[in-house]
Every structure is written in structure tokens, then in C-alpha cells.
Symmetry: D4
Subunit: 179 residues, 8 copies
């Protein structure tokens, strides 16, 4: 059965994930998986800033009124989606530059170089997982339990790196990837 | 007296010029001067794609309903204005990337790399005059008199270059700029 | 049977598509398919700005005299074709930067950075479909029926995005691409 | 008298602003001015990620333990400060790429391209004001009064743009900047 | 009195220098000065590849028929001039990318990335002097006296560098520029 | 049997082709094939500017003394080979930037941005064939028969393009590549 | 059996190799192979500048106190590892920019553009072997035997190039790669 | 009186500083000042890799034979000097990319992207001071007194930053630069 992405009204989603096209879905999957891992309620939509501006507006305004907290917007090329979402809400907006024909450099500049007065919190090109983690950090500012979970994630992440280093000491660089 | 930029209803403006900020006005002035030179009725507005989306929508929708033909939109940095205008109308939209802290490379990529299904006709970084000329060419597709004017402009432009070349032959490169 | 690309004189082609080399043909195919979809008469040629300048001149001048309206020119690398076409006619010229060894950055800059006085309406790198749509928009300025068709295209395009979003709501991100 | 930047313990600063060098101070001033405008308590430090790592660690750890919420870190060139701060705390970190010899492209890439698992919320090159506004948005997620202030700021910002547009309609582009 | 740049028929110019605009004249002056220094007959023109294609064709064809040897073409932005000249003659063409709003990167790529089958010998951005020296080297392939002159130039150039090095040894780096 | 690349003394090679590594050989093959096609005698070597400077010097000095005319040097990355060859001879040097991990942008800049006083005639990234053609053009300045051959090559090249265009007219874009 | 990478205390390792992630291991292998080839004792670790700062600090401080000489640090993207290592020791640090989604340009700028007062000796993108060779050169400054080995390596490297050139002379370019 | 830069034979210079042109002298001055500050004997020359290859070779070979330890080479544009020096000695070579018309991006790539087998230790664009510090670090590997000096420098550098931070706390950001 598919993961449900619609929230009941009494327990509104805290995060809204929007992507410009379903060609971004695969690259954005680590974002949803990370939010799932932290047990955070979120909604996820496909909505083009240009092709479906009214639909996008409905999504964002509804999410905002329902008490949502953070929007994650992913797009590539002349990636206007995060900026257009920023114009539709006063909630913090996280922008994810998707990799494109120009290696994502166009996506990155189109998202990060926002004019004064209208910020978008930009993560790395293809940084789907980091977008989710940044959203977690923002929610954790006022949610001690979530912050504890995030600290736990960070500690485990560190242990993972050190375990790999230990393995490298033991097996040597020539046999590290041996079964 | 200031040039009038509002049009009476019985004779609607054919071109709508929008810039994202009054910091773009000086760089965009050759656009308006060129339109004036061709005697074309136009409107000119300051409207940010992000800060004043509703106002922008009113301007573009009104211009469209009134029978306008082409929109010229100029912006810098993460320049979303031309793309957002393109989403608000089915008229052709000409995008002018204004020079920015990154030399206009961000402006250029943010305007030209539009997704499939939503074109913006992009001119050079800082290409205010060319935006006006392209608008003239588009109008001239169905306006023989305007096309004749544009052909005249092109012929004069060629004569200007050749006159300079002749002057260079006569004065030599060391004295070309002498009075 | 091959699509016919030659037009009878009594019903001249409205658009002329030129590409610099047959290596551009595959990338440019969405342009012709889009024009076919809108039922627009067009001609299509292979003509190098450098290797076959006289041939190019004949094509463009003939198209212009026959009452054509817009030229679409596609090229890669030091992509001079759109600019050279612009010099051969006063019709609007749409430039398509083909993807190259330098990701199309050279193609893009060679097409878009045209000098003042000689614009080329540039679309995204590899933007074959958008070139056709921009040509449609230009023709639609004086052709109400074509404009209605283009508005219909835009509405359908929006519906397509929203249908995908609905599917994502229903199936969830993990099962979106399942059959 | 100088603005005070040290906070008493019973009312801890919500934001910590760190810059890599006092050569960044002038460029970062709009950040502090904006925070002042919103009446937000903040601390401001000069601390190099490389030259004074231990000092930086003390600042960030102390700010974190005291109940701070968001860190803003600004640096140029191989700008490691925001990433190093991100490693020292689990609070959200906003990175400001300062303009450099390479136009800030090096600063931008050094800040935004963070590895998976360690995000930095990046704003535009030189985006000091936007860093402050993003911090405001993050605090406002759990602070309705601050959110109302930010909505007010956004509304005033929109009015400012529209007032300029009206002035342009009235004075015309040639006289806009006249006294 | 201005340097004469027109040649008598019995003694045709060996080099033709063309620039796209008189705004390139100042930057190109070291080219003419260097040719003067080697005593090489040359012609110099202003001719735009786009605005004055027919005039350019006349110049190049006439120079070619008269027995000229090398063309130097300088342009900026979407710098098509060298490529267009290459299409008009089978003589070797040297391209000089003039510095532009994008630092000359657009000029460079527009000149150097020529398609297979149509080379342009490209020198550095702003490399006016090197264009002249390369032309000298090409002429010197079949002109022993000129080659001897060029070898002499190279030897003197080397001596100049060594004299500066000696001065640095004697005065020290702190006083090198002292009078 | 392998093509011979060593020349007898009484009939010296006119062109010397040097590449920095045998990893450049495949990319450079169109250069040798083109020279073969024009029947031009050439030598071809592998010689690193850094690893085998003395060997390179012997090759270039010997070629120069033997009456050679043009050197073609190909290299990638921090491509110093063409510039180092230029320092070893007063003959014209053609530089070919080989495609690299950075798409050849490093190779291109390392070759074309030579200091004033020491030009390298640079062709496109990967422009092996154009390097040969440029060498042919340089030799043809004083070799009427070779120039006639080159003009013939250019005419055939034009015919090839036009034949493809005719085929496109006949078969249509959907069937152009059908057998 | 795996190569041992831990050193006994009486014979401390001279070089410490650190990589940010085991995804860098394959690309960095030529570094370890080269050090092995020179018979140099080294340690090799996986340690993220951000995820495991304390662990990294322990490694570097221990290596430093034990009498180590040079650190090689490899990372990609916003590659802070070399700079962070430089802050942890006064030993020379060699930085290796690993190839990334942006071709390693982000890695390169993040490593090489270090602020004044804190150098990192940067090698080419993907330059694992050169990092090892540079470390050898640094050790050889005070180790005559190692310097002799390195000179031998350089001589053999030169011979290798010349042998390939000879083979090219003998077999010709068309048969060079034939068995 | 000028600083002396020639060393007596019994006490050979440990470092050789070479720049490609006296236009680099001003930018390179912090390098010499830093070496002076550490009391390190050095030589300083102007020597072009291309114009004065034989002179450069004499300098480097002599320095090498006399027992020198490290070469610092600075150049701009197609900056071959560091690489050419690397080919002339087996001593470690530090490359300094000088700022150029292309912001030093060409200088940087021309220096850092050296082929496998021939490293250059590259510092930041314009990184004259860091080149000196890196040389100090390399010498300090086998010179405990110098290492102690360098550690002292680093400690003082840290204190300088912290003093500025303290001043910022006391005076506030608005009065930091007040006298």
C-alpha cells in the first residue's frame, strides 16, 4: 500500500513538499524518506510555478492556513518554484536545486540569488536529504523532542563514519570493499 | 514634461514594460527610448514577481484583456519576473537579464533556462535596446508599416557602421577619436 | 511516408526552421512535432552559417519574400547560425542553443549575447519545444484562432500537472511509478 | 553609544551572528539592522573557523546551551565558517556567502554544497538582509507575534514597490529620479 | 598626420584588420602598433558581421583577390565576426575576443568553439598584440627576413625581462618602483 | 603496415604534431587523418612539456632547423604544452585543448590565455580536425596549389551540407535517418 | 592479506591520509599506491570534518604529537576537510578536490581559496597521485635518500613518455594501440 | 636601502621566489614580507616561463644545486610558470595564481590542474602570503625552531581575531570602525 500523504484536519501536516515536475520525484525521494524516518507529518505535491500557478497558490495558502510550518520546494533549470512559493507565504521556504543539463548551476543560481526582502533557504544541488534535515532543525527550534531525535541522528551519523574508518584500519584500502 | 506612459482605452498600448525594481530603470531606459523612437505605444511598470505578485497579475491581465501584444520584463539575480509574467499571459514575453553581482550570469540563466512548455524570449545581459527591437520585430509580423520602419532602422544602422569605417580609413587609428 | 516540408506557393509556410548540422536533427525534433501539433506550415533546412552561407542566404531571403513570419535557428558550440540569420532578414529570429561539449554554455552565450541593434530571441539550451511555442505565441499576436489553440494547450498542460499531483496523493511517492 | 550586543542570562539572545573577519562587517551590517528592526535579541562575533576554532566552539556551544535558536554565519572565499558552525550545533545555521575576488562564486559553492547529513541554509551572495529575514521566519514558526510583524514587513515592502510604480506612471521614465 | 591605412595596388596589404565596432578600437590599438613596428602593410576596417554583412564581404573578398594573406578579426559578446570572416575567405583568420560584460568569456567561447571544418586561430581575451604577432609568425613561414625580425623581437623581449630581474636583484622588492 | 611518420632529410616535414600523452592520441586522430587527406608531410610525437622537457626541445629545435613550418600541440588540464612549444620556436604554434575532467575549460584557458608577446593559435576544445585545417591555411598562404586544394575541400564541405538539406526536404524529419 | 595501515610507535608514520567519506576511497587509491611505491609509512582514515569533528581532531593531534610530517586530506563538494585539518595542526596540509556533481569545481574552490593565514597546498581535481608525490617532495627536502628515489621516479616517468613516442614513430598513429 | 635578495654561498637561500612579470610584484609583496618576518633567506627573480626559459632554467638549477628547498612561482592568465619550474627541479613548487582579466580563474586552472606525475602546490588566487606560510610549513617539517615560530604566528593570529571580536562586543557593530 502507498504511504498516505494527505493529513486529517485535526493533526495538520507540518511540512509541505512541492516539486515542479514528476521528473524530480526520484531525486527528491530521500527528502520524503528522511521526513518519514523522523516521523514528521508532511504533504507532497507536484505543482509547477508557471504551468499551474493557481493550483500552487491553493496548495500553499491551504497549508499555511491549516497551521503548517515549513515548505520544501524542488525544481531544476530556471528554477522559480521556491521563489514563487516564498512569495505566496510568510513561512520559511527551503529550496532544492535539482541537477539539470547545466549540472544544476542554473537551478542553484535561480534559487539562491533571491532579491533582498524575499529569502529562500537553499541547500546543495540535489540536496533532497539535507532539505528534510533543515526542515527538522527548523521545527526543532520549538520542539525539544524532535531536537533530541535530531541529536540522536547526528550522533549515529558520526558513529557510522567512525565505524567505516575502523573497518579501513582493519582491512586496508585494498580490501575495504571486499565481502 | 514627463513622457506619458498611460494609454487611453480606445488606443491601447501594444507593449507592456515591467521591471522588478527601480534600480533597473536606468539600465532599461534604452528600451523605452527605442520604443519611443519607433512611435510605439507602451506602458511601463515597476512590479516585483515576489513582493507584489497580485499587483503584477492585475497589470498583466489588464494589459492582455485590453488587447496588448508583447510584454518586456527585466530583472536581475534570481530573475523570476519574466517567467512569472509568462505564466500570467499567453502573449509572447521578452526577458532582459540585468547585470548583477555575478555579472548577470545568474540573471541570464534564471531567465533563459525556462522549462519546456513555457518559453521566455531572452536577449543579452543588459540588452534593453534589443528587447525593444525584438518587440518591434514581433509586432511587425502583422504590421507592414512598422516592418518598413524597422528595415529603415536597420539600413541606417548599417550606414552608421560604414561611415565609421570610412572615417577610420581617412583619419587612421591613431587619430580616429581626435576632434 | 515522410512528412512533407515543402509548401505550395499559394499557401506559404509561416515558419522556417534551420539547423546547422544533421547532428542537431534529433534534438530539434520536438520543435517540428510541436509545430505539427499546432497545424502550422513550416519549412525545415540544414544550412551552416559558415560552410554554406550563400545557400542559407537563398533560403532565408526566399522565405522572407514569400511572406514567412518567423525563423527558428538551432546550433551548437560557437553557434553563429541564429545571429547570421538575424542579419539576413528583419523577421524575428528564435535561437536554440544545442547541447555541446561545454554543456551548451558556449552555444547559449554565442546566441544570446548578440550586439545592440540585432536581437535573437533565445530559448533554453536544448529548448526545441519552447522555440516552437514561442513562434506560436508570436504568430498568435495577430491570429486569434491560433491564440485560442495556444491557450487550450496551456490549459491542458496545467491539467496534466495537476493530474500527476493527484496521482501522487493517491499512490504515494514510493508507488508513483508502479504500473 | 554603541548598540549593546551582550545579553543578560534571564533573557537569552535568540540569534547568534558570526563573521569570519572584520572585513565582512560592513557587508553584514544590513543583517544586524534588520534584526534590530524586528526587535530581536542577538549576539554578534568575529570568529574564524580556522584561526580560532576553539573560540568559535565556545561561542556556539554557549549560545546553544543558553537557549539560542538560530546561527547566522557569514564568510568569503573558501567559506568554511557556516559549515563548521553547523558541525558544532544542531540548531539551524544560515550561511551568507560574502562577495570575494571570484565574485562570491567560491563563497557560494563552499557554503551551499554541504555534504548529505549536514545542511546549511544558504542565502544569496551578499545576502545579509535576507539572512536576518530567514532567521525571523524560522523564529516565527513558533512565535505568532513575530510572524505578524513579518507579515506586516512584507505588506509594507509590497506597498513600497507599488508606490514606486505609481511614481513612474506619473513622472515618466525620463523624470523618475528628478527631485 | 594620421597613419595611412589604404594601400596602393602594386604593393597590396598583407594583413586585413577588422573590428566589429569603434568601441573595440582602443583595445585593438596594440595590434596596429605592433604591425607598424614590424613594418607590415595592413588595412583596418570597422565592419559588423551582422549590421553590414555585404560591406564586410566586399572588404574581405577584395583583400583576398588583391593577394592579402591573413585577416585579424576582433569582436566582443556573441562575437561572430571572426567566424563570419572565416566563411568568406580561405585565408587564415585570427580571432581576438574583446573584453565584455561577462569578462570576455562569451567573446572567447563565441570565437574559439568554431565547428569542425571552419577554424579560427584564437588568441587571449584582449590579446590584440598577440594577434599581430601571430600574423607576423604566419607571414614569416615564407618570409625569412620577417622571421629574422621576429626572432630579434623575441630576443629583445627576453632581454627586457632579464633586465627587470636584474633591477629587482639590485633594488630589492621594496624599492623596485622607486624613481 | 603503419603510416610512416619519419621524413627523409631532403624532403622535410612541414608540420610537427605533438601531444602530451598517448591518452590524447585517439582524440587527435582526425588531425593526422586530415593532414594525410591533404597529402601534407608531418611528424607526430608524444612529448610532455613537464616530464620530458629536454626531449621536447630536441624535437622542436630539430624540426625548426630542418625547415618545418607549423607546430600543432595538443594537451589537456593545465595544458602547458602549446605554450612551452611556443617558447622553443618562432614558428606559429597551433594549440588544441583536449577534453578533460572540467569539460576542457581548464585546457582551453591554459592554452588560449597566453601572455602578451607569446601567442598560441587556439582552436576549439577537441578541435583536432580544425588544427589540421588551420595548419593547411597557414601553409597555403605561400602555396597556391595547397590553397586550391583547401578551396576544393571547402566547396565539397558546402555541397555535403546542401545534400543533407535536400535529403531532409525529401524524406522529412521523421524519416531522415531511415535506411 | 590487507596492507597494514597502523604504525608501531617506535617508527611513526610520516604521512596521514584522511578522506571525508568511503565514497572517496576508490578515487584516492592512487595516493596510497604511490606512497606504498616509495616505501613511505602512512596512516589512512575516514573522518568527516562536520560529522566527526572530535574524532578528526584526535587523529590529527595524535599524528602530530607522534612526529608525523604531512597530512593529505581529500573531500568533495563544499570540501572543508583540508581546511579544517589545517586549523588543527601546523604541519603542511595537502588538499585533494574530489570530482563531484559540479565536476569538482566546487571541491576545488572550497579547498584552494583558503583565507590569508591558513594555506592548504591544493592539487588538481582528482589528483590523488599528485598529492602523494607532493608529500614525497616535501619529505625529500630533508631526506636525501627519498629525494634520490623521487629523482629516479621522474627519470623513469620521462623514459616512459619517450618510449611511447618511439612506439608511435614505429607503428604510426593508426596502429599504435594494436597488439 | 633596498633589502638584499642575493645570498652568499656559505649560507644559501632556502626559498626561491619567481614571478612571471614585474606587474606581479605588487601583488606578490606580502609573500616577501612574510618570509622576511620569519627571517627566512630567499632569492627573488622575474623570469618568464616562455620569454626567458633558459634564464629561468639557470636560476632554478643554480638554486637547486646550491641546496635550496622550496620554489614559489607566481603568474597570471595561462600561468605556466609554476608548472615549468616543477619540470626543472624535484624540489616542491608552490604556485600562486595572480588575479587576471578572468578574475584569476584562468590562472588558477592553469596552475592547479597539473597532469599526474608533476604536482604544483597551489594556493588561493592572489594568495601571496599563504604561499610564504606554506613554504614555512614545509621547511618546518625538519626545522623545530621554525615550527615553533610558525606556531607562535598562528597563536598570535588567533589572538588578533579574538581581540577584534571583543572590540565588536564592546563598541557594537555601528561604532566598530570609529576612532
Amino acid at each position: 500500500m502507498a504511504k498516505k500523504t494527505m493529513k486529517s484536519k485535526e493533526n495538520p501536516a507540518r511540512i509541505c513538499v512541492v516539486m515542479g515536475s514528476d521528473s524530480d520525484l526520484k531525486g527528491l525521494t530521500p527528502c520524503m524518506e528522511t521526513l518519514d524516518g523522523f516521523g514528521i507529518d508532511y504533504e507532497v505535491y507536484i505543482a509547477s510555478a508557471h504551468r499551474t500557478h493557481e493550483y500552487l497558490k491553493r496548495i500553499i495558502r491551504k497549508f499555511d492556513r491549516a497551521g503548517g510550518s515549513v515548505v520544501i520546494a524542488a525544481a531544476g533549470g530556471a528554477a522559480h518554484l521556491p521563489g514563487v512559493v516564498a512569495a505566496l507565504t510568510t513561512l520559511p521556504v527551503i529550496g532544492v536545486p535539482m541537477v539539470s543539463k547545466l549540472l544544476g548551476l542554473d537551478s542553484l543560481l535561480s534559487i539562491v540569488q533571491m532579491p533582498s526582502g524575499m529569502p529562500v533557504a537553499t541547500v546543495a544541488t540535489g540536496g533532497a536529504k539535507n532539505a528534510a534535515l533543515l526542515a527538522v532543525q527548523i521545527l526543532a527550534v520549538s520542539d525539544g523532542r524532535l531536537r533530541a531525535k535530531y541529536e540522536d541522528f547526528r550522533a549515529k551519523q558520526a558513529e557510522g563514519v567512525m565505524a567505516k574508518s575502523k573497518k579501513l584500519q582493519q582491512k586496508g584500502y585494498l580490501h575495504y570493499f571486499d565481502e
